[in-house]
Symmetry: C2
Subunit: 242 residues, 2 copies
């Protein structure tokens, strides 16, 4: 009965129901209005995520999501020739993979609201600190992700969103507007702090409020308890439930 919002992405989506996470925050925003389902796959790039697309969003299912967020790129932007190169997907292929996802979802339901979210910026010093905390001082010298590379992928994501007239959140740019974004928004140079999660939530809600899926304009399901007459409760339920 209730419309669904599906969050499709990598670890930043998979972890979005941890305390302070943007997914849980979104579920609270759409409380009694929509369900939020997580389809986040840590470590995945868009090339690998394409293998899941038809399974997660089959063309023949009866009830497609009302909204789907696509939030990849943090792994695609891993640098060739460094420790995470296995995850690297060239920016142009990343863009075409995102296009395939959007086209599949629109084929699934032409009314579905698809929102593209760019990868966040990368704090290279934070990545190095994190690597040292895992592997000690003798760890690699060069970060496996750079902010510049993330920016190249982010630009491709936004480019595609504009080409396809799909709403988007340019997280890479947005976060860098705030001084001290490196530590304020990123816990290990890549993943989000509660404040970083709040940015994703806030920017996504702005996009949704500008669409036909604004939580503020959606009714809550079933009567608020204050309008239920203790002596004649059935009256309050007659319209919606009897």
């Amino acid at each position: 009965m209730r419309p669904q919002i599906v969050l499709f992405g990598d670890s930043i989506t998979e972890q979005s129901f941890k305390p302070g996470g943007w997914g849980a925050f979104l579920a609270e925003t759409y409380s009694r209005k929509a369900d939020v389902l997580v389809r986040g796959y840590g470590g995945y790039n868009t090339r690998w995520a394409l293998f899941l697309l038809h399974h997660l969003f089959p063309l023949d299912s009866t009830k497609p999501p009302a909204v789907t967020t696509i939030f990849f790129g943090a792994n695609d932007a891993a640098i060739l020739g460094r420790t995470s190169e296995r995850q690297h997907v060239p920016a142009e292929e990343y863009k075409e993979n995102l296009r395939k996802m959007v086209l599949h979802l629109k084929e699934r339901s032409h009314t579905m609201l698809v929102v593209l979210i760019s990868p966040p910026p990368v704090d290279e010093e934070g990545r190095n600190e994190y690597a040292r905390s895992l592997y000690g001082e003798n760890t690699r010298e060069l970060p496996e992700r750079t902010n510049e590379a993330a920016g190249v992928h982010a630009k491709k994501c936004i480019e595609l969103a504009k080409e396809m007239s799909v709403p988007f959140v340019d997280l890479w740019s947005k976060m860098q507007e705030t001084e001290g974004w490196q530590k304020k928004f990123l816990s290990d140079g890549l993943h989000l702090t509660p404040e970083g999660n709040a940015v994703v939530h806030q920017e996504l809600v702005k996009v949704l409020n500008d669409s036909w899926f604004s939580a503020e304009e959606m009714p809550s399901d079933f009567p608020h308890h204050s309008v239920i007459d203790g002596k004649n409760p059935e009256k309050a339920f007659q319209q919606q439930c009897i």
Copy 2:
């Protein structure tokens, strides 16, 4: 595709996706294993919730939840003759309403795991402080909810669970095992602090771990990124996705 856990209850369920909430915590526990859907209705007692039962859990839908938690009683136990008496449902009727819910869900799917959760204890001083914070010093003298009344309802809930062989969480008793439960677990004498939410999560997960729906024993959906061969990604997906 993914099994569903539905949380059916009053405000303590409706608020379970707020930061530190037990619902979001459960979604994280079942990450890539099950979806958690909230069907919480603030202020509702079991008498009013019965109006929703056939709408939320229709007998003819194709995919019933794998697990449903039923978590009412905090409003049913409001005291007659005091400010929240409109919400009061006598303990015996409360028990019979819970029975109707369990029977309906079992009719919906005889394999569904139904978990009954008793209302939490009530901190009367906390309720009074909360009332004074809303209405000033001249507020009512007598609390509209008492721990004793909540205990009567909690006992009925557990009694029914045992009669019907349904797993349960005796939250009323469990919380009172900890010294200082009044402020540690309850934010306004009735609703849960993050620590209180953690108790619900922990006790519920214990019950689920003892059932066929233990998260620890369920596989994550789709391959972990570390087993994907960067040069031949299709290999990892062959079993599950091709």
